[in-house]
């Protein structure tokens, strides 16, 4: 296909596993410069592996003793008392909160983010395109602690009536039953704030990818009589899909691990609070529970329990990423 279009890369884009775009080994001349440069690149890769291994080993090393002493089932227990000779702690609640908060964030941020990226690259008048991109990038310039403060003090009170309305009209759905948590500090609200934080990440990367759509593809579609939207659907989106997924994964990583904004905004629940499926409830994510208690990690056992929670977050992100990888791979296989 590439021979026809001249600049097509979609089909030859190297796989995420780094299979090179073309067998450029022959181009490596074996000269000193080449060997040095290649070595440096490889070294950087190895360094990344070493770093992650180090972090992982450290987490495990700190977590295992605490896990070994845990009297409750780490994966299914809702308890969290990490002191004393018989600590009992589990992560179910943390997992639920983390996953729902991130899911809400992604549900909002990905469609809006992609639409904004399309707007910037395909719809915006020429004079607007650049400023629009800069404006959205500006959202990324806002530090998360500012999102937290703004969410708590400014956005939260405004959101309160919305939540009251949701609770009132949709209260019969378990997801929207009231849980007695004040508006502006619920899982739903934090999800929305996180969506705003993630949006510029999704937009920035998708935008770059959309902008690279081969002009021939686009013009081809238009020449065949496609409307602009059809052109986007048939040329831009398929081309940009791996990029969108990549961007979403970056965003998701941020949402899952976001600490300070969640800590500031989200109300926590006392030990032994009733379990609900409600999005209008409070809770703690992995990161916010660690942050809430980081100051008081006075024993290795206690620290270990929290680090074990951090480890789960680690694994969670990894699983999501792995799934995304598989999706990209499958898609590529079909598009051949």
């Amino acid at each position: 296909m590439s021979s026809v279009t001249g600049v097509s890369l979609a089909d030859e884009t190297p796989g995420p596993h780094g299979s090179a775009p073309l067998s450029g080994d022959g181009a490596g001349t074996g000269r000193l410069g080449d060997r040095l440069f290649g070595g440096a690149a490889k070294g950087a890769g190895l360094l990344v592996i070493a770093l992650v291994t180090l972090v992982g080993v450290f987490l495990l090393w700190q977590a295992i003793p605490a896990l070994a002493r845990n009297d409750a089932n780490f994966l299914t227990s809702r308890e969290w008392s990490v002191d004393g000779a018989h600590p009992r702690f589990g992560i179910v609640e943390l997992l639920w909160t983390t996953v729902t908060v991130s899911a809400i964030a992604m549900l909002i941020a990905v469609p809006v983010g992609v639409a904004v990226a399309l707007f910037i690259t395909q719809y915006a008048p020429a004079w607007l395109s650049r400023p629009a991109a800069s404006l959205i990038d500006l959202l990324a310039a806002v530090p998360s602690i500012v999102y937290g403060i703004w969410g708590l003090r400014t956005f939260g009170p405004v959101f309160e009536p919305v939540q009251g309305f949701l609770q009132h009209t949709l209260g019969w759905i378990p997801l929207f039953t009231g849980a007695g948590i004040s508006g502006g500090s619920t899982i739903l609200f934090v999800g929305i704030v996180l969506a705003i934080m993630v949006l510029p990440i999704v937009t920035a990367l998708s935008r770059e990818v959309f902008a690279q759509t081969p002009v021939t593809h686009k013009e081809g579609a238009l020449a065949l009589g496609a409307t602009r939207w059809e052109m986007i659907r048939t040329a831009v989106l398929p081309f940009g899909k791996p990029g969108i997924i990549s961007a979403s994964m970056l965003g998701l990583g941020r949402a899952l691990g976001e600490t300070i904004a969640v800590t500031i905004i989200l109300s926590t629940l006392p030990d032994g609070a009733k379990w609900t499926w409600s999005l209008l409830n409070g809770g703690e994510t992995f990161a916010s529970r660690i942050a809430n208690n980081a100051a008081e990690f006075d024993t290795p056992q206690k620290a270990g329990a929290f680090i074990a929670a951090g480890l789960v977050l680690f694994v969670l992100t990894f699983v999501v990423n792995a799934i995304a990888r598989v999706v990209i791979e499958r898609r590529k296989a079909f598009s051949e």
Partner: protein, 336 residues
């Protein structure tokens, strides 16, 4: 490229309202693409044919998509404007005071007005730039390795590790460096330790965005360069990187924006001080996020003012970096 008309019927106008602008276009399209051109002109005024229906549906869809894209963009602007307005209106007046840019907070309590943020600004710049100086080379080299060199197991492993690194919550990165720096090596908490934690957070952002951009560099460029006998490393340095330059800069700036505003690891590693401190390897180093964090737990007006003002300062600094980066990207990128 087709010039876009900005007239967009609102969704409320529905099909009836759209007919004015819609039919002419639908007619044109159907005439151009199908044999329907043969149909007598009388049908245009009266009930449309089946084909006309379809064409009108397509046109409506197209308009609808245009409206959705605009709406998404405007929607994304809402929180942006809101946050900037909140922070700006509450924080600007301190920034107008020359003292803000020349003095530290030394000796200022939450009850007293006055003092500046110069200590925190310096700390943020020094730490941000140091972090970038470490992570940008590693990140870009890793991305080059993944796209240009890597194959087989090692590349898979590197790619995998970068994914995991994306998932390291900032607070866990802080805990990790604390355990390494303080617990294992017995060193004092200093600014450089913060930088190490931030490097962990910045590398994956740089790698992922650079990788996406490198993948989009057309292979024909590489081939052409190789064909001219240019060694691989020179091809990468002189052809591939410059082509992807603007995208890489965007990615680096996103990463830098993130680490400069990062608070969680600083809570563990970088305690705040109210006095000027510029030594990365000795003593505590104040930064804007920790300054915000210190003041946000206060309710007294002087402290609250300072909190918004330092938030605004932080946003402005990141913004300035973004503008600078954009200028660099524009001058540095290859004309296409």
């Amino acid at each position: 490229m087709t010039t876009s008309t900005t007239a967009s019927p609102g969704p409320s106008a529905g099909s009836a309202g759209a007919s004015a602008s819609g039919t002419s276009r639908a007619g044109a399209t159907s005439a151009a693409t199908t044999g329907a051109a043969a149909t007598p002109p009388s049908t245009r005024g009266t009930a449309p044919t089946e084909l006309g229906h379809k064409a009108r549906g397509r046109a409506v869809k197209d308009q609808l998509a245009r409206v959705v894209m605009w709406a998404a963009f405007l929607l994304a602007l809402v929180p942006l404007v809101w946050i900037l307005w909140t922070v700006g209106s509450k924080g600007y007046h301190l920034l107008l005071d020359a003292q803000w840019w020349t003095n530290s907070q030394r000796g200022i309590t939450s009850r007293r007005e006055g003092g500046g943020a110069v200590h925190a600004i310096q700390g943020t710049l020094i730490q941000g730039l140091t972090t970038a100086a470490i992570s940008v080379p590693i990140g870009i080299l890793t991305a080059i390795y993944l796209v240009e060199y890597g194959r087989g197991r090692l590349a898979k492993a590197v790619s995998f590790m970068v994914d995991i690194l994306t998932g390291v919550p900032s607070i866990v990165a802080g805990l990790f460096v604390y355990a390494l720096w303080v617990t294992t090596f017995g060193l004092q908490r200093v600014g450089f330790a913060v930088c190490l934690a931030l490097v962990l957070l910045m590398i994956p952002v740089v790698v992922r965005s650079t990788e996406e951009m490198l993948k989009l560099v057309p292979n024909e460029l590489r081939e052409a360069s190789y064909a001219l006998g240019v060694p691989k490393w020179k091809t990468i340095m002189k052809v591939v990187l410059p082509t992807a330059f603007s995208g890489i800069v965007t990615g680096v700036l996103l990463g830098l924006a993130r680490v400069m505003g990062e608070t969680a690891p600083l809570l563990i590693l970088g305690p705040y001080t109210k006095s000027i401190a510029t030594d990365l390897f000795g003593g505590l180093m104040p930064t804007l996020p920790t300054m915000i964090n210190q003041d946000r737990t206060e309710v007294l007006q002087p402290a609250v003012d300072r909190m918004w003002a330092s938030a605004l300062t932080l946003i402005l600094i990141v913004l300035l970096l973004n503008v600078a980066g954009r200028v660099v990207a524009r001058f540095g990128s290859v004309k296409r």
